[in-house]
Symmetry: C2
Subunit: 290 residues, 2 copies
DNA sequence: TTTTCATATAAGTTCTCCTTATAACTGTTG
DNA sequence: CAACAGTTATAAGGAGAACTTATATGAAAA
């Protein structure tokens, strides 16, 4: 780069208007400034760019060649700035979310619908995997936000609780329930639980293990919805998330067992990078969830 | 444009090096200057461009998007500057010449050969037409140079003589020549002349007319070379340009008639715009001709 | 802890860029 | 033809942006 980039801005306008004085008005500076700037530019580049004639000025051949490049450059910068404006106003951009299927279905879906309706220009990308994997996606910048079961922590991330959930045991409508179950009694029931690697299951196992109770489920499934379905057709007693089985509980498709004491509450957390700012698109989504 | 273009230069280098201090060294300014500049840029654009981390800095998403555009812009400017350099050093460019066939063949050709050998990267474009038309090509910028028969003048053009030429009368080797011819005697000979609209013919007619002598050629041809050929096979006496018939005169293919007084000398002129500078390519060609 | 390596901030200075004023030139107009 | 209405060029001086130096701050490494 042989000269100040700002000179090119002035060169550009001057060439467009074919006149120093007109360009000056347009740029809100004096004609003299333009004249000096162009002289400087010409001497920096060692090339005559304009022919000064009676009726204004004309680009030389060299000037024309340069103009094409400068025009392209300035348009490019303009595009960049416009793009940023659009990002800021959520008229463009993308939102990359990592979340498990259960959380997506029962928690995020309604927000995603709203979000898309409000900001239709923002492309939404979903990834789903296991908690640790999802946190990695965020750390690698491949996802803006991850929704995971808490507790969970990471040096590089902020993980904020955004929904309290309760683990409850449910059974089919015809199941004969006792007034109340102790944990030991629960362990004796024909349990339907999630697979071992899921966070909900780990949470459950951990809590029971603290009381030296081992859980031996009769059935293990991979999907939360199946817990409800299986319980409803009397295949056993499922441990589900109360908030996610709300409809089925209300309709009596499953009924809740009273367990004493109840399992401790836990939360779903929203994870994002501690040191990098959220994209405008992600910020708007987080805002919406609150 | 929301901010000074120069900021983008700094932004670009900073983003490339992922470090304020490294970019500072590279740009030969202080780290502090970079820091201030980026802050200014961020506030002008209302967007955070970098994430400041322990080990240097990283572009934010918005920063990355901007960077692509800025990179393109800077490359474009760089290309433009490089292109100009090449033009200056005649490693690129084009030379557009307008000239009649005769002048091209007998005068320009050897220079064009040299020129192309010296500057092989310069594209040569030839146009040929009548004098007035060729001057128009120059005035419209469609030709850099026009080579025309003088005298000729134009407000917008400089027309410099670049070769003196002599019009002489020649005949075949067996033609019985007198010691010397008066103009009246010449007019009586069986003349072979160029067509009426050619400048050579007009020049001839004008000179004879001033002495009240009318020229009534037996044969009119369109091409200078045919004048020589026809004379050589004794179809008559041609008026040719001595310098362009040099070879044939030396070899005795045609012989020269001694005319008294001889026709006044005239010149071939090189025409170019008075107010616009010659392109580097054209300048080099003019230089070569001198 | 101390050291090191980043960026941020403060304050002062330099020097670029712009302004004003004027000149020089051309073409136009009363 | 002189005065004017347009250009761009040039000179000189002033405003302020951008840079420098010096120091603070903060996090990671030793």
């Amino acid at each position: 780069m042989k000269t100040k980039l700002d000179y090119y801005r002035i060169f550009y306008e001057t060439a467009r208007f074919q006149s120093f004085s007109t360009a000056a008005q347009h740029l809100y500076i004096s004609q003299s400034a333009i004249s000096q700037c162009i002289h400087q530019l010409e001497s920096d580049l060692n090339v005559q760019l304009f022919v000064r004639t009676r009726r204004g000025i004309t680009l030389t051949n060299e000037g024309k060649i340069l103009f094409l490049k400068v025009e392209n450059a300035i348009n490019s910068i303009d595009q960049g700035e416009k793009q940023l404006e659009k990002l800021r106003h959520l008229e463009s951009g993308e939102l990359k979310i990592a979340a498990g299927d259960t959380i997506t279905t029962h928690f995020l879906l309604k927000y995603l619908e709203d979000y898309h309706a409000t900001y239709p220009e923002i492309r939404i990308e979903m990834a789903n995997s296991y908690s640790s994997q999802m946190l990695n996606l965020v750390k690698e910048g491949k996802a803006d936000l991850a929704f995971v079961n808490m507790p969970l922590s990471d040096d590089e991330l902020i993980i904020e609780p955004c929904l309290e959930i309760d683990d409850v045991f449910v059974c089919g409508p015809d199941f004969e329930t006792k007034e109340s179950y102790s944990w030991e009694e629960v362990a004796e029931l024909p349990l339907i639980l999630l697979e071992k690697h899921s966070s909900s299951r780990r949470f459950l196992d951990k809590n029971f293990k603290e009381k030296n109770i081992a859980l031996n489920p009769q059935i293990e499934v991979a999907v939360h919805d199946l817990l409800i379905r299986f319980a409803s057709i009397h295949l056993g007693v499922s441990c589900v998330i109360e908030q996610f089985a709300k409809v089925e509980l209300e309709k009596g498709i499953v009924q809740r067992l009273s367990v004493n004491p109840p399992l401790p509450k836990r939360s779903i957390g929203c994870a994002y990078l501690k040191n990098a700012p959220l994209s405008y698109a992600a910020k708007a989504f987080v805002e919406m969830i609150k």
